[in-house]
Amino acid sequence: MALLAAAATPGLATFTSEVRVVESVIVPGQTFHIDLTVNNTGTSDLVFGENTLANGVTASPNTGIDLGIFWFNNLDGMTVAPGQSHTFTASGRTDRPGTWTISCSLQCRDSVTGVQTISGSVAATVISASQAEALHPVRPGSIEIRGNILRIGNTSGYQRALVVVRGPRGESVQLSIRGPSGSKLGGLRIESAVADGSGWLQIGSDGVATVAISGALGQGELKTGVYWVVATGAVTDRKPILILNGNE
């Protein structure tokens, strides 16, 4: 997913830019990244990040859903010299499958033409977890943790890992999380219309069940470390997950 936005500028300052979504597949809960690459084809410096210069990322259509789109960061004093290029990155997180057009706008200044605006847009398609599972199916009778390096408590907000279970349709699986040696920390309390909150999960008609793990444990958070996610019941399996807690 990429779109080229070329801009011709009067005088000596010229540039090209490219906007793209880094990840080829995005699923709900995933933090994705938008790259805006600027190539200075002119003969004077392009300066970004001054107080009077704006930058931003918007999504359309505006459905009222928080896409978690962030502005470009770390622009202060960034200078792109003639003949050089630089990639600016913004990140966002989707909560729901769908397709959005993401528009980026970034201002810079050069000594010849003053303030200019670089803009571009790109389509971001978010597929559902089950669609992603279909693309990369989980082995029958097993579980897989997607996003098994889970960062929590950092400035980019909570992430989620997905536990995908493939097993007999309509059967139930109980999930729990354990420390090293298998010591049980607690059941995975599942908030779902079909689950009773005890950690039991029902496998759907497509033979797949998916839950998201936040890394929260009651009122606290799991500490940085490796844990086991264990499934029992219709599917018996375990997989490790690394929690990186930025609050420690």
């Binding site: 499958p97 199916p137 049980k184 920390l185 309390r189 444990l217 958070e221 940085t224 844990y227």
Partner: protein, 483 residues
């Protein structure tokens, strides 16, 4: 008894108070620290009623049970179907008891490793990032023992690593930090009964307690039966949400789960000496869905011992259903007197004493036999010991074809004491030097083969001999009783 009860009560009250003050939440960093490090614990033998150096890192007060001055050990624990391994080395020192008590210290280093795994992104694709988890644990335990009471403390700092994770993955997270583990504990020996308890903390404070009863003697093999239990600090469930139906919840930073506490954990087992060199054990562990059977054996040879333990969890959680643990130990240094509690609580054998026939030196054998009878009678009158009757002694020795005359060495005394099934044996001599009679005696501890006490007295006539024997018996009683 009243004193020991008060001490135990105080320990339990302190445990409850500290538990109430425990921090909320849970530190997973404690997990590795609470991996059972002792093969015997892993094998189901009661935590109390036995000892190896790793016990010091379950309950540091148990350092008081170390039978010799020095002990070093190396162990390896394989668990999670081989996906995890914990290798440990430890060394412990414990002093002999002095009037001001005994002291001990132990150090331990452990390396925990786990099978590496690849990162999988949310779309189900493997990335080029590999996680290689490992944990390093160090432990220091100290112990103070006074008579039958001992108490201890330990600290276990730890660090962890996950291989060479790129900065884009760690994003500045401190991946090495782990909370240290602390423990305070106490133990009392009340004859055949041992009790102990304490606090085990790593953010959340668990309260642990246990007990064991030793048995054996009278033709039955020695052994112990006991238990230990853990009342875990509060831990709340982890809350998750289904992705497609309730994704708006994903935006909340902290799902609200009321949660429940962790399960009670308990172990119970029995250990039995099936051979002079071999002890076997079996037990059960109650720990939620990790409940199961434990078993193992220890083989001792001179200063060495080899211990194997296996844990089986029939609940069948994959990869958790078999654990293997091997420990090799080596002991050195002088023997230590183990805490045994108030004498009136000791088993009969501990309070039993026999007096061998005294060796005549310049007097008739008959005179020496009379003096040994006098010593025997005075010990009976002292009332502290159960003294083997001479008639019974003669009968037992005749049955065993044991020749006691001339039995003055410690080696012979130990053999004689074992035949008579007593803890202490008095050997001595009665002789005449110029115009003075000399009564000399030694008390040999049959279990340790050490001379527990020795004394002599002189007299010039028969009443003087009588008085000397009375005095010797009284001081002997006090001295051995205080051992």
């Amino acid at each position: 008894m009243a004193t020991s009860s008060r001490l135990l009560l105080a320990a339990l009250v302190a445990a409850a108070a500290s538990r109430a003050a425990a921090a909320d939440g849970y530190s997973a960093s404690g997990d590795a620290s609470v991996i059972p490090l002792s093969a015997r614990v892993q094998g189901g033998e009661p935590l109390y009623g036995g000892y190896d150096v790793f016990f010091a890192f379950e309950n540091p007060a148990l350092l008081a049970r170390q039978p010799r001055k020095w002990e070093v050990a190396a162990g390896d624990l394989v668990l999670m179907g081989g996906d995890e391994n914990l290798a440990s080395v430890a060394a412990a020192w414990a002093s002999r008891e002095t009037p001001s008590g005994a002291f001990g210290a132990a150090v331990m280093a452990s390396g925990f490793s786990m099978a590496s795994f690849d990162e999988i992104d949310l779309a189900g694709r493997r990335t080029n990032v590999t996680v290689e988890p490992s944990i390093q644990i160090f432990g220091l335990a100290v112990m103070y023992q006074y008579s039958f009471f001992s108490m201890g403390a330990l600290i276990e700092p730890a660090s962890q690593s996950f291989g060479n994770l790129p900065a884009s993955v760690t994003q500045g997270t401190d991946t090495q930090a782990k909370d240290p583990r602390f423990a305070l504990s106490a133990a009392v020996a009340l004859g055949r009964l041992e009790l102990g308890g304490g606090l085990d903390a790593c953010r959340v404070t668990d309260m642990r307690f246990g007990g064991a009863v030793r048995f054996g003697g009278a033709g039955f093999p020695a052994g112990s039966v006991g238990f230990d239990a853990t009342l875990p600090g509060a831990l709340k469930d982890m809350t998750v949400s289904t992705p497609d139906s309730v994704f708006p919840n994903m935006g909340s930073s902290d799902p609200s789960g009321s949660g429940t506490s962790r399960d009670f954990r308990g172990r119970a087992g029995v250990a039995l000496d099936v051979h002079a060199l071999v002890r076997v054990r079996a037990g059960i562990a109650l720990d939620g869905d990790q409940s199961g059977l434990r078993g193992g054996f220890t083989v001792r040879w001179k200063a060495w011992s080899l211990d194997y333990a296996i844990g089986l969890d029939p609940t069948g959680i994959i990869g958790m259903d078999a654990r293997h643990h091997v420990v090799v130990s080596w002991r050195a240094g002088g023997e230590r007197k183990l805490p045994e509690g108030p004498r009136f609580l000791l088993e009969t054998k501990e309070r039993t004493i026999a007096v061998a026939g005294f060796e005549p030196q310049g007097v008739s054998a008959n005179d020496a036999a009379i003096v040994s009878d006098m010593v025997r009678n005075r010990l009976v009158k002292e009332g502290t010991f159960s003294v083997v009757e001479k008639a019974n002694m003669d009968r037992i020795l005749a049955e065993q074809a044991f020749q006691q005359s001339g039995c003055t060495t410690s080696e012979c005394a130990v053999k004689l004491g074992k035949v008579l099934n007593v803890r202490y044996l008095v050997v001595g001599s009665f002789g005449k030097l110029l115009d003075r009679y000399v009564v000399s005696l030694r008390v040999v501890d049959v279990e340790t083969a050490r001379v527990a006490y020795s004394d002599e007295a002189q007299a010039t006539d028969v009443p003087g001999v009588q008085e000397a024997v009375t005095k010797l018996a009284a001081t002997l009683t006090e001295a051995v009783k205080a051992k």
